[in-house]
Symmetry: C2
Subunit: 220 residues, 2 copies
């Protein structure tokens, strides 16, 4: 389907070269159509960017809300959030890079809308940390700074993850969960918690929906 080919071409190029460095003609060439054909499926180049970012953020947000609906303990929620975020950013690496890098290319209303989605997602993390702090499970001085630190550390996965790397995605996401639990000093009975103490459900079910309808791992 032509529309799908165009959006996938835009995704690959935006992730590799950046939105501004990618021309309409580049996208047309990559999608194997002429540049005029693009304008049958969109109004401006920015529309492509907006579609990619909305899809990515909305899927992530939806999955995050499902996690919260299923798990109650803050330490479980945190570990599941880290796994969701890390796995999403690895599997949907290209989309994640675009979402992470190209916000400044947005103009007008969409800029506000995307910012709202992002801060809604941040607020969920904020609530988890506050919950764990109030329950005496976490020990952190400043939840806002901790949220920023955790999000940034997990988002970074999109920048270096490769399916051919030395660590499997499962290893990485478990390891990052452990680091997050350590960062917030999650404890039961004075004992530092790790992800293996938490008896989490299979993580896979939280992010089966791939962003932008990609069938498998996105390629860089």
């Amino acid at each position: 389907m032509t529309k799908e080919k165009i959006f996938q071409a835009a995704l690959r190029l935006f992730a590799r070269k950046g939105f501004e460095a990618t021309s309409i003609r580049d996208i047309a060439l990559e999608a194997e159509v002429t540049s005029s054909t693009l304008y049958h499926y969109m109004k401006t180049k920015e529309d492509l960017l907006v579609a990619i970012m909305q899809e990515g953020l909305q899927t992530l947000l939806g999955n995050a809300k499902e996690v919260l609906a299923e798990l109650e303990a803050p330490e479980q929620q945190l570990a599941a959030f880290v796994q969701l975020h890390v796995t999403s950013h690895a599997i949907n690496k290209l989309t994640a890079l675009v979402v992470d890098t190209e916000f400044r290319a947005l103009t007008g209303n969409t800029r506000v809308e995307i910012a709202r989605l992002r801060s809604e997602y941040e607020l969920l993390w904020q609530r988890i940390l506050t919950g764990g702090l109030e329950g005496g499970v976490f020990a952190i001085e400043n939840t806002k700074l901790a949220v920023l630190a955790l999000l940034q550390m997990c988002t970074g996965v999109a920048h270096w993850y490769s399916p051919d790397g030395p660590n499997s995605l499962e290893e990485i996401s478990l390891n990052f969960s452990d680091m997050a639990l350590a960062l917030v000093q999650a404890k039961r009975n004075g004992q530092q918690l790790t992800v293996s103490d938490l008896d989490l459900p299979e993580p896979a079910r939280f992010f089966t929906k791939p962003w932008l309808g990609a069938a498998a791992h996105e390629h860089s």
Copy 2:
């Protein structure tokens, strides 16, 4: 001095709009010269980017080596590295954003050279973590993943720091040091270490040299 005005103008615009979205004419306008004048001080637009990135990374790397020369204990080195990285990325926010965001705009030899500087810096972090692990002070499963997590979390400061924000830079850098020490589970006598246990020298001395000769905080 014209040269300084041009480089500062490029720095501001690259940080705000991105390298590709910034035109030669934009820089000339911001520096209050004509676009031809720029070419008296550089050969191509990329030269400006390279100069900014080299200056930033070399200064950071030099300061990091000074820290290692003065401190021996891995827990002290780690805390000082976090303070150096966080403070540098807050004070030299614009340079840090450019270094962090515009690597993909580089071509040819400079791309390799900048990548080398970056991985040299990463290696210093790697050695600190390995040292702490071997000394039994840190408890981490995978030092490479921990380095990536720590670096990403500290680098993120450049994206949200503001001198008008709710937390002072000193609060932020101390807080981040504590989070880093918690992440690696730094312990003495079974007791979790915080930065106040470490008796560090005044951090200010490690990053008095501002990047690109900026006199004070860089403005966004």
